[in-house]
Symmetry: C2
Subunit: 337 residues, 2 copies
């Protein structure tokens, strides 16, 4: 049995904060990261939980992230806001840009936020939620490192390229999905490697471009997109939208920049948000009720509402705290000097 | 062997135009539809080619489309344009809105076009292409009729809900994909039914919610989304974005409105377009070249660039014309009174 350590959400946050501050992150960056990883742990997303603190520190020690970068906002058009993360993590840049972005969305009906020159390790649902909290509809995407082959290809080119979408629900947690366009997350392949279990079919190919269920071969070869050529088309879209369109790196460029340090991807993120008030006008309540009818029809036949599980876990964690493997807890404590 | 009839593109267009005009469509609607179905036939998309003329006339005879609706434009925010199709086909509404929409995209950097109260039978790539021709990046989606069950569900709720995306390429045909979020198109299931062949696994379920490869059972039951819960999440997003967000029908509402007349879906379409000039500024050429490098890396390992085949077929058809099954040709001719 794995030994564990249970922490309240406040304890978890302060542990992450201390580890990040001890290693040189500015108060603002440490706070943004600690909030984010605590939220991941709280919502049952251990893959974006406190263990990410280790990667953040590793990325800093590898010289691949700025510990104290100050994000800089600029307007590039009435409905486009840019925030230059200046080589810091995306989170502080996003937080800095959020109020001005929300204003732009409300003023124009739709607007885009480009986060540039950021190091990115966080889940996109965490960037969607502050927008749904403001009553906005939002889409986000970001490339990662080139680990995934396009449909019909034999070599890695795309990132795991997540797409997230959120819809605000009156008096309910929002509808939010956040999905990799790869068949599986890279972390899931790592888990199979450590456990010595074969991968499901359709997750990856080996270095010769042949289908493989061996985790090592796939990590050396390439992952596959979900849903064949359709998932591949979406992955390419993410490369284009959150790469060249916003003047930032593709997943291949990000991996080259990494120089095998194992750091988090570097590049950009694109967020598009829409204001239902400006789209629906006076009939807003009617149309939100129609969306609720769709959700009722989904749940009524046993289909899950994306994001539901996260909010259930959140309720649990707020009462009972979060439980980490003891080894992970001690590794993070060891970072606090 | 099937007997065929080959027509030049001009002959194909005029045949479609005559059939539509003979049945009462206004000159403007007939032209917009005839251009669209000729383009589908030309590009090798027979499923959105001249055979659609039959469906257009059937929809008109069922009283489910206006033959002469005049689209009405309105501004609902600086970056949102609406066009009310007034129960006509989406195509003329889109054409009417295009110049003002392009202006809005250029002025704001990003803008949304909502087509409302339209009857929709056409492929979305045809709505994306005029935007890429203007150098814009574009996304489009539309619900359809409730034929597809959400992941984990047992009954039809979503439409085949296509998503299309386009990226302009200097001196090349654009990168454009247009994909149903269902595992297969409804027409493909019809083809299996007519041919008496079983469906591939994963296309649908029967009325009891059980997986089935029998075309009749699936047509009575429900189709599945592509890519499991991820495709299902995208299908739900399309319902929300091009349904309640723009104040228009979901696929379930559209099917109820149809009252078993077998008419085309009725509701809305959402198009979002972005201006690379406003995103990339002075570095535009550099970033477009980086996108080209991505495409070269795709083709270089045998992956297909979405839309490529359509443009190859287009070149062929422009020289050699298009070839219809004789029975279809005669059916369309019979509509010309």
């Amino acid at each position: 049995m794995t030994q564990t350590q249970t922490l309240s959400l406040s304890e978890a946050y302060h542990l992450a904060l201390r580890a990040l501050r001890s290693n040189g992150f500015s108060a603002e960056h440490a706070d943004a990261v600690a909030q984010n990883v605590t939220a991941g742990e709280r919502d049952g997303c251990a893959s974006h939980g406190l263990y990410r603190v280790l990667g953040c520190v590793r990325t800093l020690l590898a010289g691949k992230v700025s510990a104290s970068a100050v994000p800089v906002l600029s307007d590039s058009a009435p409905a486009i806001l840019r925030v230059d993360a200046n080589d810091g993590f995306s989170l502080l840049a996003y937080r800095s840009a959020l109020p001005a972005f929300v204003d732009k969305v409300r003023a124009n009906g739709i607007a885009a936020l480009a986060i540039n020159h950021c190091v990115h390790f966080s889940a996109l649902w965490a960037d969607i939620e502050p927008l749904t909290e403001q009553g906005l509809v939002a889409l986000a995407c970001t490339p990662s490192h080139a680990w995934v082959t396009p449909a019909g290809g034999t070599r890695p080119l795309f990132g795991t390229n997540p797409i997230a979408f959120g819809w605000p629900r009156p008096q309910r947690p929002p509808f939010i999905f956040d999905m990799a366009t790869s068949a599986a997350a890279r972390g899931e392949i790592e888990l199979h490697r450590r456990a010595g279990t074969p991968l499901p079919e359709g997750w990856g190919i080996d270095e010769r471009g042949q289908p493989s269920t061996d985790p090592d071969s796939v990590l050396q070869g390439a992952m596959l997109t979900f849903g064949g050529h359709k998932g591949s088309a979406l992955a390419a879209m993410v490369e284009l939208l959150a790469g060249p369109l916003i003047g930032d790196m593709t997943s291949k460029e990000s991996l080259a920049y990494d120089r095998k340090t194992g750091s988090s991807p570097y590049g950009g993120e694109l967020i598009i948000a829409m204001d239902p008030d400006r789209f629906m006008g006076a009939d807003k309540e009617v149309h939100f009720a129609r969306a609720e009818a769709l959700f009722t029809d989904m749940s009524g036949q046993g289909a899950r509402i994306p994001g539901e599980r996260r909010f259930q876990m959140r309720q649990y964690s707020e009462q009972h705290g979060v439980t980490l493997p003891l080894a992970l807890y001690e590794e993070i404590v060891a970072l606090c000097r």
